[in-house]
Every structure is written in structure tokens, then in C-alpha cells.
């Protein structure tokens, strides 16, 4: 079923936020994805400066400032369309949220990491290959906290922790470049309509994000202990 513009009657593309013929904002439609907002396929390697230009262009069409003198109905639509646009831009412009969002669209239950944003501890699964390192790190962190309680400073320990921090930060950077490789794999699989390869890329991204989240929490714990 194709919709028509409420104002001029022209045919509208599915989910179009505004009418191409007369420029007027349209009622929001349900189930529009963030990719749809920008007319993008569900692919991950995207150019953020192109995205930014599209964001500005759409903002000029949809922003409530443009509809300050319009009918109450148009104002409400403009508000909803713009918040959707902003939410979409905010999510797609950054690598991790974009990947998480896509995985969610693909049916993956992503563990929302918002609590860690404000410092709350959240237990995530430990990647088995990190077992030894994490064990040692936890001992050191414990010692550091003890020291701090006693008002002591152990430069040796501090040095060790700094070293661990650098190492884990290196792992984070590494996982970022690994992620980009998986994007390419995913995008190619989408283009080729290769479901098996899509599923493979998807599972690898989920594992990578899990690991990344774990390492990031470690870095944060070390930073906290170092008082940074």
C-alpha cells in the first residue's frame, strides 16, 4: 500500500519523513529503522562525513524550528520525525552503537552497556584466553586498593598496573580494527545475499563486542585504581 502526502496528495515512498513534491513533514510510520531514516542499506562500513551531510540536510527539512508556525499536527510530526532522525544519527555515526544496533535488528539480544557508562559494575563473560591475565590483574588491583586504604604508594605496583593498562588499551584498538574487517565481511555477504556468511560475520561480531566490553571494563577498573 503506497501512501500519499496529506498536503498535496503526491505519492510518498514508504516511511518518507517529508514529501518530495511539496516539502511538508509527514506523519511518522511505525517500524522505520535508523538505516531507513537515511535511506541506507543495512550495512556497516559507512562514511561518516556523508552521513553528517545527510543529517544536516534532513534537519533543515524536519526540525521543529521550521514548523514553529505550522499547525499543531505538523509540529508534533516534526518533533517525532526529528527525534527519530537525531536518534538515528547518534546511533549510526559511532562504530560500536552502529554495530550493536544492526545486530539487534538481526535478532541478537545485545547486553545494553549503559550501566557501565556511569561506573556501575556489570559482570560480563570473561573471554577464556584472558583468564591468566585477568587473574593477575585482579590481584594487583586488590593490592592497590589496600595500599590506598593505608595511604601507601608502591611505585612498582603502579608501574605494573600502568603496563597492564597500556596492554589492554592495545587490545581495544586491535578489536576496533578487527571489527572493521568484520564490517567488510558482513557488507559483502549482504551484497552477495549469502546467508551463511552473514550469520558467520554476525556471530563473530557478537563475540568481538562481548570481549571488547569486557576489556573496556578492565581498563576502567585500572584507571579507577590508579586514580586517573
Amino acid at each position: 500500500m503506497s501512501a500519499a502526502c496529506w498536503s498535496c496528495g503526491s505519492a510518498l515512498a514508504a516511511g518518507a519523513p517529508f514529501c518530495v513534491a511539496c516539502g511538508k513533514v509527514q506523519a511518522p510510520t511505525a517500524d522505520v529503522t535508523y538505516f531507513d531514516v537515511f535511506g541506507l542499506p543495512r550495512k556497516l562500513a559507512l562514511d561518516t562525513s556523508t552521513l553528517e551531510r545527510a543529517f544536516y540536510k534532513l534537519s533543515r527539512k524536519l526540525h521543529p524550528d521550521v514548523y514553529a508556525r505550522a499547525s499543531e499536527r505538523e509540529q508534533q510530526w516534526s518533533l517525532e520525525q526529528t527525534s527519530l532522525l537525531n536518534d538515528a544519527y547518534r546511533t549510526l555515526k559511532n562504530a560500536i552503537p552502529r554495530t550493536e544496533y544492526l545486530l539487534k535488528l538481526e535478532g541478537v539480544e545485545i547486553e545494553q552497556d549503559r550501566a557501565s557508562e556511569n561506573g556501575a559494575k556489570k559482570e560480563s563473560r570473561m573471554p577464556p584466553d584472558l583468564l591468566e591475565e585477568v587473574f593477575e590483574l585482579n590481584m594487583q588491583l586488590e593490592e592497590m586498593r589496600m595500599n590506598q586504604k593505608m595511604g601507601e604508594d608502591d611505585p612498582q605496583l603502579r608501574g605494573d598496573l600502568e603496563k597492564a593498562k597500556t596492554q589492554f588499551e592495545g587490545q581495544l584498538a586491535e578489536s576496533d580494527s578487527d571489527l572493521q574487517k568484520l564490517w567488510v565481511k558482513w557488507d559483502a555477504a549482504v551484497d552477495a545475499d549469502d546467508e551463511a556468511s552473514q550469520a558467520d560475520a554476525k556471530n563473530k561480531m557478537v563475540a568481538l563486542l562481548d570481549r571488547r566490553r569486557y576489556v573496556r571494563n578492565l581498563v576502567r577498573d585500572v584507571n579507577e585504581a590508579l586514580g586517573a
Binding site: 533543515r60 526540525h63 521543529p64 524550528d65 518533533l79 517525532e80 547518534r90 550501566a115 561506573g119
Partner: protein
């Protein structure tokens, strides 16, 4: 909706210390002066008398600060959207008194004379004054405005500002963040590209905003600040020092004398301002004991004293840079806003934080830091009104300054919209029930960056009602949180299994309900009526006085003898009557009495006029003939028909 396309939308800077109203005149924003010719309206409200309330706002209200401090409120903006526990500490330094029966979480009420007012009501009086100034200037009603707020204002503070606008009879088309407004004013005539930091230190608030300017789009990328940091804090510090000095040197405790504290306040503010251009000032205050407190304050000592205060702006600047993902070197321009940036060490601080000097740059101060926010508000008002050549292509994309969260199990905050998200922004959350047959779910919404809900700002408690009874965990209630372009939160909810729109009852934590705002509008409307009636009465009494004084002098004029006995008797009778009417407050009767006396003396006025003219013909100058009339030639004739103003 605006039917009248020509109606002017004004831009208002509702400041802690000073407020201004501006509008777009052609291509340029200009500030509208008040009746006194001044652009700044001090945000001071005095209740001049009880009975029929009489409010004085602005410069006129300042005299009351020293005379009757208990009848004046200033810096009311610091109290907007706050609760009694938030302000107890700082109120020690202000002469205001809170109502005795305030409950925690209730909107503040401040005593003024024998009455009580909420902060939005006080602010509404300032807004009414600005509205009046604009209406006087345009000669036409003004009902729509853009009002600025500190970028770091939370939801409650924004809502309180919007309520104040409504009480003042203004449709608030948009709340704009002050630093963003300043950037708009600066961006108008310099089509700049790049990254700009706006540092705004006023009387009561501090904001730092970092914007990206690109082809007319003003995109805020990060903002930070402190809604309780500004010139007031510097003043309070200097006052505390003076009070200590006086106690130490003279053994006098002046804290019990609000008048003296206000006199000290006035003096230290003058000293602070002088020190922005002088190397040394002398402070001198007369004390109630007849003694005098004197002290010399060199600029270096002053800078030492205020350093802890102004250094509190550094952390927010660093955090904003971090959130924006830029280094100080990437900031192309720094704009200084707010009166307190005139302090040389404040401007120096911005230089240090943004490494300006090393890069051969200086902070921008070309636009008057007192006015630039109002000018920017006028620009935004113009944009909302449909734009003009000067503002075409300009679009403002602002952010929410604080993260929005909901209280989860154990009092932990689950963030749903991160700070510095471009607004409008939304988040959708799903809730369910924990007990079989449960029909209500309570949601506590908070704003802030802390981990625990108790450490964040409580915004509101939402009660989702009317959930169809089901087994625990079965209902799926979708709640949509939407922050609009004003930075104000809206919440809607739906039970997905039944598709029923859930009913939401909102209890704003520090806000007024719609009904309360309506009542306050009605209250102040009564007052506006009372104010108006009182003014008319005063004017009518003045008219009566003028004519009575003229009649008193009449017998000494030759023309008096030309009247008949009957005429003279009638005049005497009406004169006595009017004298009595003048003591009462029946406006209609007073006006009628004045008119009757005026009519009865009309022939006398004509005779007197004739005599004056004929003596002029006889060679006397018009001047001396005029002298005989007692008032001078340009003064209105005392017996001219009484002009009863009906404005």
C-alpha cells in the same frame, strides 16, 4: 497558532542579575530599552506595598534593597525549579525568607512583605516588565517570545521558566540555551565555519558550550556548566570577608542587620566592578554603630580571593572538550559572555584553558557581554517567525546537558538518553509487572551523571495506571521518553499486549502542576487589574489636586470678580465636594467631581485667558501675561478640560 504573521516575536534574556528584551529590526537584532532609556532591567522585584499589591521591577526596585530588604527579591533565577533542601545553604547569604511550612520536594515559596510567591511568579513579574517595555516600544501587544535559559538548566528549571512565561502572558515559542544564543548573535554577521567555545559566566550561572558551525548550522556538540556559579558567589565571598573583618576588628556582628549586609553588598559589588579596570579600590561602609569599616583592596589580593570561585569553571570546560572529542587546540574561537567575564583574571583563565595566547588568538568580546544573549534570542525569534534574509539558512541544533535515567532495582540509574544528545531526542523502554494482577507500575525519572538515583536530580515520578490484570511479567508496557527542542521531557506509555494507552499520572518533583500555573495566572491577573485600578486612582487624584490648587488661587485673579455670586458659590461647593471625594477611592465619583468642577470654572478660565491676551495686545509680552496665569506659557492651563487618561 500564529494567525497574525506580522506579530513580532521578541527574544528575552531572563538573567539572574539583569534581563533584556530584544527583537530583529531588519537585518540586525537590537535591544529594546525601558522607559528609563536603559537596556538592562535588573532582575529585582519589590513589593512596594501590601493591600492593593504594587510591584516595582528593575532599576526602580533596587532602592528597596537597602531600605526594605524584606520586601525585595533578586537572583530569583537561582531558586527556579529547586527544592528547599537545595537552597538552604545558599539562602544564608541572601536576605530572602522561605515560607515556614515548606515540605521537601515542594516548589519554593518566598516571603515578600506579608505574602508568599514561588520563583516562577517572581520571574513572571520581570517578564511582564520586559513585555511592557516591548509593547511600549512597538505600540502594539506582544504575546510571543523566545526565552533563554542556562544551557546547564535541568528539566525542572526549564519548566519553571516556561511557566513564568505563561504567567506573564507570553507564549514561549522556544527556550534557547544562553551560550547557543550568544553564538547565534556572533554567527550572524560573520559567516564563520569551525569550532567555537562559548564561555558564559554571569551573575548566578556558568555555562560552557562547544559548537560546530557549518553553512549556517549551529550544532552544539557538548555543553557543561554549573547552575550555581557566578558573580553572586564572588560577591558573597567578599561580603563574608567584610563581615569577618568587622567582627574581628570592631567586634560588631552585622549579620543581624540586613540593611548593613545589603549596604556591604552594594559596596563590594562596586569594588569588584571597579577592579576590572583599576589596580586598587577602597571599600568603605558606614555601620549602624556610627563607626566605619574601611579596607583597601588591590587587584592581586582580589584575584587571590576569587581564584577558588573562578577555578570552578575549569573542570566543566575540560569535561566539555572531552565530551566533544576535541583538544583545546582544535577550538577556533572562544566567545566570552556574561558580566563576570569582564574580570581580567576570568578572561585570562579562558586563555589558559583554550591555549589562546600561544596560538596568537584572543577571546571574542566584540559584542557587549551583557547584551549578546538577548540579541541571539532575537535572532532565534526571527528564525521561528519564518526567518528573513539575515537568518536564512540558519538552524540551531542543540543538545540536552544532562543524562536522563530511570531508577532501577537497588536505586541504580539506568541511563536512557546520554548527555549531549542532540534534541529532540527519544528513548523507548519496556516495563512489566512483578506481581500477579498488578495494575500499576511506578517509574522514577532522574537527570544527572551519578550512579545512584538519590545522587541525581529527581524529575518526576510516573505512575502507569490501568494495566490489565495479568500474570506477573506478562504485561509489556512500552514507555516513550521524548526530550523536545526546549530540553523538556514528555512521556507516553502503551500496554502492548492489550494495545491500551496506559494512563500516566505525573508528579513533578520540583514543578508546578498545570492547575497551579493556571491559578497563579488568575491570581496575578487579579493583581494586574488591582495594579491598574490603583494607578488610575493615583492619576485621578493628581488631576483633582491640580484643579483644586488652581481654584485656591483663583480669587486673587481679576477675572474672579467678573463671575456672578451664583457662579462663585457653585465653584466653592464643588470644590469642597471634590476635596472629600479625593480622600476616598471611588474612581468614578472622583472623575465626575473633577469634571464638574472643571465645567463650573470654564467661564472663569475663558475670562482669565481674554485678560491675558488683551494685556498682551496692550504691549505686555506673552511671557509676562503667562506669568499672570501662574504657570508659565508652556504649562498646561490649569483649567483646561481635565484629561482623564484611560490607558
Amino acid at each position: 497558532m500564529s494567525e497574525n504573521k506580522d506579530e513580532r516575536i521578541v527574544g528575552i534574556d531572563l538573567g539572574t542579575t539583569n534581563s533584556l528584551v530584544a527583537f530583529m529590526q531588519g537585518e540586525q537584532p537590537v535591544v529594546i530599552p525601558g522607559e528609563d532609556g536603559l537596556n538592562l532591567v535588573p532582575s529585582v522585584v519589590a513589593l512596594a506595598n501590601d493591600g492593593p499589591r504594587k510591584f516595582v521591577v528593575g532599576n526602580g526596585a533596587r532602592q528597596y534593597l537597602v531600605e526594605t530588604p524584606e520586601r525585595v527579591i533578586y537572583s530569583a533565577k537561582r531558586l527556579m525549579g529547586r527544592g528547599v533542601d537545595d537552597v538552604r545553604e545558599e539562602l544564608k547569604l541572601f536576605p530572602f525568607h522561605l515560607a515556614d511550612d515548606l515540605q521537601a520536594g515542594e516548589v519554593l515559596r518566598i516571603k515578600l512583605g506579608s505574602e508568599e510567591f514561588t520563583p516562577p511568579e517572581i520571574s513572571a513579574y520581570v517578564l511582564r516588565q520586559l513585555k511592557k517595555n516591548a509593547e511600549r516600544y512597538f505600540g502594539a501587544p506582544v504575546t510571543k517570545a523566545v526565552i533563554t535559559v542556562p544551557a546547564y538548566f535541568n528539566d525542572a528549571q526549564r519548566q519553571a521558566t516556561k511557566d513564568a512565561g505563561r504567567m506573564a502572558g507570553l507564549e514561549v515559542l522556544r527556550l534557547v540555551n544562553e551560550p547557543t544564543a550568544a553564538a547565534l548573535a556572533y554567527g550572524l554577521d560573520r559567516k564563520k565555519e569551525g569550532i567555537v567555545a562559548v564561555y558564559d559566566l554571569g551573575g548566578g550561572t556558568f555555562d560552557i558550550s562547544i559548537l560546530k558551525l557549518h553553512e549556517g548550522i549551529f550544532e552544539v556538540i557538548a555543553t557543561n556548566g554549573d547552575t550555581h556559579l557566578g558573580g553572586d558567589d564572588i560577591d558573597n565571598l567578599l561580603i563574608a570577608i567584610a563581615i569577618d573583618d568587622i567582627q574581628g576588628e570592631l567586634g560588631i556582628d552585622v549579620r543581624t542587620s540586613p540593611e548593613t549586609v545589603q549596604a556591604i553588598r552594594k559596596e563590594v559589588i562596586a569594588a569588584k566592578i571597579a577592579l576590572s579596570s583599576e589596580p586598587l579600590v577602597r571599600i568603605s561602609v558606614d555601620l549602624p554603630t556610627g563607626e566605619r569599616y574601611q579596607r583597601e583592596l588591590p587587584r592581586e589580593a582580589f584575584e587571590q580571593i576569587i581564584k577558588p570561585v573562578i577555578d570552578r569553571t575549569i573542570e566543566p570546560c575540560k569535561q566539555a572538550l572531552k565530551d566533544a572529542g576535541v583538544t583545546p587546540e582544535q577550538i577556533d574561537e572562544v566567545v566570552l559572555v556574561g558580566g563576570s567575564t569582564r574580570i581580567p583574571s576570568v578572561s585570562q583563565l579562558t586563555d589558559d584553558v583554550f591555549h589562546l595566547h600561544a596560538r596568537g588568538k584572543k577571546p571574542h568580546t566584540e559584542l557587549n557581554p551583557d547584551e549578546v544573549v538577548a540579541l541571539g534570542a532575537a535572532v532565534q525569534a526571527n528564525i521561528l517567525g519564518g526567518g528573513s534574509k539575515a537568518t536564512e539558512d540558519m538552524l540551531l541544533l542543540d543538545v540536552t546537558p544532562l543524562s536522563l535515567g530511570i531508577e532501577a532495582l537497588g536505586g541504580v540509574v539506568a541511563k536512557i538518553i546520554q548527555r549531549n544528545s542532540t534534541i529532540p531526542a527519544s528513548a523507548t523502554e519496556h516495563f512489566t509487572t512483578g506481581v500477579d494482577g498488578q495494575t500499576n507500575v511506578a517509574i522514577h525519572v532522574v537527570q544527572g551523571e551519578r550512579e545512584m538515583a538519590k545522587d541525581c536530580r529527581s524529575l518526576a515520578r510516573f505512575d502507569l495506571k490501568g494495566i490489565p490484570p495479568m500474570s506477573a511479567g506478562l504485561p509489556r508496557i512500552e514507555v516513550k521518553f521524548l526530550i523536545d527542542a526546549n530540553g523538556i521531557l514528555h512521556v507516553s506509555a502503551r500496554e502492548q499486549r492489550s494495545g491500551k494507552e496506559a494512563e500516566i499520572e505525573v508528579k513533578p518533583t520540583y514543578g508546578l502542576t498545570d492547575e497551579q500555573v493556571e491559578t497563579m495566572i488568575l491570581d496575578s491577573f487579579d493583581n494586574a487589574e488591582a495594579d491598574f485600578a490603583e494607578r488610575q486612582l493615583i492619576e485621578a487624584r493628581n488631576e483633582a489636586d491640580t484643579i483644586l490648587a488652581a481654584v485656591d488661587k483663583a480669587p486673587s485673579n481679576a477675572a474672579w470678580q467678573q463671575l456672578t455670586d451664583e457662579e462663585r458659590g457653585q465653584i466653592a461647593l464643588l470644590k469642597d465636594e471634590l476635596f472629600v471625594l479625593k480622600q476616598g477611592d471611588d474612581l468614578k465619583a472622583l472623575r465626575a467631581g473633577t469634571e464638574a468642577l472643571d465645567k463650573a470654572t470654564r467661564r472663569f478660565a475663558e475670562l482669565m485667558m481674554d485678560a491675558a491676551v488683551s494685556s498682551a495686545i496692550k504691549g505686555e509680552t506673552m511671557d509676562s501675561a503667562g506669568d499672570k496665569l501662574g504657570e508659565g506659557p508652556t504649562a498646561p492651563h490649569p483649567f483646561a478640560p481635565a484629561e482623564i487618561s484611560k490607558d
